[in-house]
């Protein structure tokens, strides 16, 4: 398992649209990706669950990746977060 931390910069937090993009992105990789923030966690392929975490701007999330090519996937996702959130 590979994981990284990311501080959400989007003013509205992980809101509906980027959450939707994230889900699409993660589904493409086929890896098991888990988000964790303030003791709540959700699988990144689940839109409602990700939104239900209610992650606000300035919060630090931990993203864990399990599966083939974990390191590469984690790297790609980190880029995704930087670009979209």
């Amino acid at each position: 398992m590979v994981s990284f931390k990311y501080v959400v910069k989007d003013q509205a937090g992980i809101h509906a649209r980027p959450a939707g993009l994230l889900v699409k992105e993660v589904k493409k990789t086929g890896a098991k990706v888990t988000l964790e923030c303030d003791g709540k966690s959700a699988e990144a392929t689940k839109l409602m669950a990700v939104m239900a975490m209610g992650v606000k701007c300035g919060k630090e999330i931990t993203v864990s990746v399990e599966g083939d090519n974990e390191a590469e996937t984690a790297k790609a996702l980190e880029e995704f977060f930087k670009e979209n959130l």
């Binding site: 910069k9 003013q11 937090g13 509906a16 392929t45 409602m48 939104m51 209610g54 606000k56 701007c57």
Partner: protein
């Protein structure tokens, strides 16, 4: 005649027949099914059809209300692709052997409840979206089309609440106004009403017996009148006529430059004092907001507005203006604008008292909260900030050091912001006299002629006994303006007027001669002034 008061969402007047609009409520009954595979297939088909519909709706909404407001329909489609949502429906169909309609309704309710219980306003508002999208699936399961048919003549829509998809689906040519009982000023419907420029009021007790009767929606005051008497009808009919005339002027002048016959240009911005004025700004074709009075945030409340509350408002303004300049004036409380919780002492001479920047420079907490909110919102558009009641260079230096602290804090918290333009109001004779010095430290000047006139002439604006002494065109004030513009240009910055004098069409010629770069006036004055400018040699 029935008069109700509600909360105004969008300005304007509408007179017309009331259409009592009820959602085609899908009555869902729980039924036991025999073949769960057939039932699940029914759900899958309906789900796919709904997603298709949502994509069409998205395309329609992009054209009508813009990409930003249309995105919600993409999110709706994504919700239907959510694993948890689909698992819930499928489990209910397969394990409890219930019909697809019931499974969708229950699943929608559960997820909607989940969002409704969250502590963040944004996420709370998503509960309506889950419900809306679930209703849509059920409608298709029931074999109904989903057109929100409102008939063939223009009507005032009266409804308990409206889902975003319902508002978008309605035929715009037939929509005069919205009146709803529920909904919030942050709801999609409110946003859409603003974007479409339709008068709207929320918080009105609706009544089915009003259907088909004549109604008046006064979006300027938040009044809704059913079955008006002749006098009221005439009064509003006249207002409507005036609005129409204004509209004709708009059609004639919209998109045209503020340029004189000899080619001199000047920017025309709008002064506003509340978010509800935004529609007027757009409607009157302002190039930006030259004065956003932030006081309403403080005056409408019983306690200090939080950073988030302010941020949401500034962000909304910046987003609505979509890249056009928005100049936010920091808090100008004191003098004639008082809020109890500031605990300001009674003053003998409040106009010259503890007000505006003087409060901000002694109570840094209040000032910093506002600056943080403004900086955070800067990411969402083209925001500038300006400081009122400046009299000295030292004040500007203090502001700069506070601004730096705020920026450092945001940076260390990883919160993004833009380096926005900072300007000052020139509204004291002191600032006007030393404007050559001040110009070197700021990005622009905006001349507040109301205070500048009262301080220069030593005439209290509120005292009617002084009317005969008061001359708004006093040469002293005009010379001050001329001096300020000259000093601004020498330092390479721009200068504008945001006081009432800016809208004085008897002076437009003179202002052009002085070389003012901008006039910021109330939205309704923009087109008449544009007309004057275009007729000037």
């Amino acid at each position: 005649m029935v008069i109700c008061e509600g909360k105004k969402i969008f300005r304007g007047v509408a007179i017309g027949k009331i259409k009592y609009y009820t959602k085609k409520v899908n009555t869902v009954t729980r039924k036991r099914i025999e073949d769960e595979q057939v039932e699940f297939k029914r759900y899958e088909d309906a789900r796919e059809r709904t997603i298709e519909q949502l994509h069409d709706l998205y395309e329609k909404a992009v054209k009508e209300v813009g990409e930003m407001n249309a995105q919600i329909f993409e999110v709706h489609a994504m919700m239907l692709e959510d694993d948890d949502y689909n698992d819930s429906v499928s489990n209910m169909i397969c394990n409890q052997k219930v019909n697809a309609e019931y499974a969708v309704a229950t699943t929608g309710d559960n997820f909607s409840e989940m969002f409704a219980n969250m502590d963040d306003e944004y996420f709370k508002a998503r509960s309506v979206d889950v419900k809306d999208v679930s209703e849509r699936v059920i409608t298709i399961l029931n074999g109904n089309d989903t057109d929100s048919d409102i008939g063939n003549e223009p009507v005032i829509i009266m409804a308990e609440d409206l889902a975003p998809s319902e508002t978008v689906l309605m035929d715009k040519d037939k929509l005069l106004a919205f009146v709803t009982e529920k909904g919030s000023s942050n709801s999609h419907t409110a946003i859409l009403a603003r974007t479409m420029g339709i008068p709207a009021i929320i918080g009105i007790k609706i009544d089915e017996s009003m259907d088909g009767k004549i109604g008046i929606v006064d979006g300027n005051t938040g009044k809704f009148i059913a079955e008006p008497d002749d006098e009221t009808f005439e009064k509003y009919n006249k207002m409507l006529q005036e609005e129409k005339n204004q509209k004709e002027l708009l059609n004639e002048l919209k998109g045209k430059d503020n340029v004189t016959k000899s080619g001199q240009k000047i920017k025309l911005y709008a002064n506003i004092g509340n978010v509800s004025d935004l529609a007027l700004v757009l409607k009157n074709d302002a190039a930006g907001i030259g004065l956003f009075r932030s006081e309403f945030l403080y005056l409408e409340k019983n306690t200090f507005p939080t950073e988030d509350e302010q941020f949401m408002v500034y962000r909304q303004v910046a987003e609505t203006m979509a890249g056009k300049k928005v100049i936010i004036r920091t808090l100008d409380i004191g003098a004639d604008k008082q809020a109890d919780y500031f605990n300001l002492e009674h003053e003998e001479n409040p106009a010259m008292g503890y007000r505006a920047i003087r409060i901000c420079l002694t109570r840094h907490d209040i000032f910093k909260t506002q600056l943080r909110a403004i900086l955070r919102a800067s990411m969402f558009g083209n925001i500038s900030v300006m400081y009122p009641m400046i009299i000295s260079l030292d004040e500007i230096m203090q502001i700069k050091s506070i601004m730096k602290e705020v920026k450092d804090e945001l940076r260390s918290e990883g919160i993004p912001f833009k380096d926005i333009e900072e300007g000052i109001m020139i509204e004291t004779p002191a600032a006007a006299m030393i404007s050559d010095i001040l110009a070197k430290e700021v990005d622009f000047f905006s001349i507040g002629t109301n205070d500048l006139t009262q301080y220069t002439l030593a005439i209290d604006r509120q005292n009617a006994n002084l009317d005969s002494f008061y001359n708004p065109h006093h040469e002293a004030v005009l010379r001050f303006i001329e001096l300020v513009v000259k000093n601004a240009h020498e330092a390479g910055i721009w200068a504008g007027i945001c006081g009432e004098l800016g809208a004085d069409m008897g002076l437009t010629r003179r202002f052009l001669d002085m070389g003012l770069d901008e006039l910021s006036v109330s939205p309704g004055c923009i087109l008449p002034i544009r007309k004057v400018i275009r007729e000037t040699e």
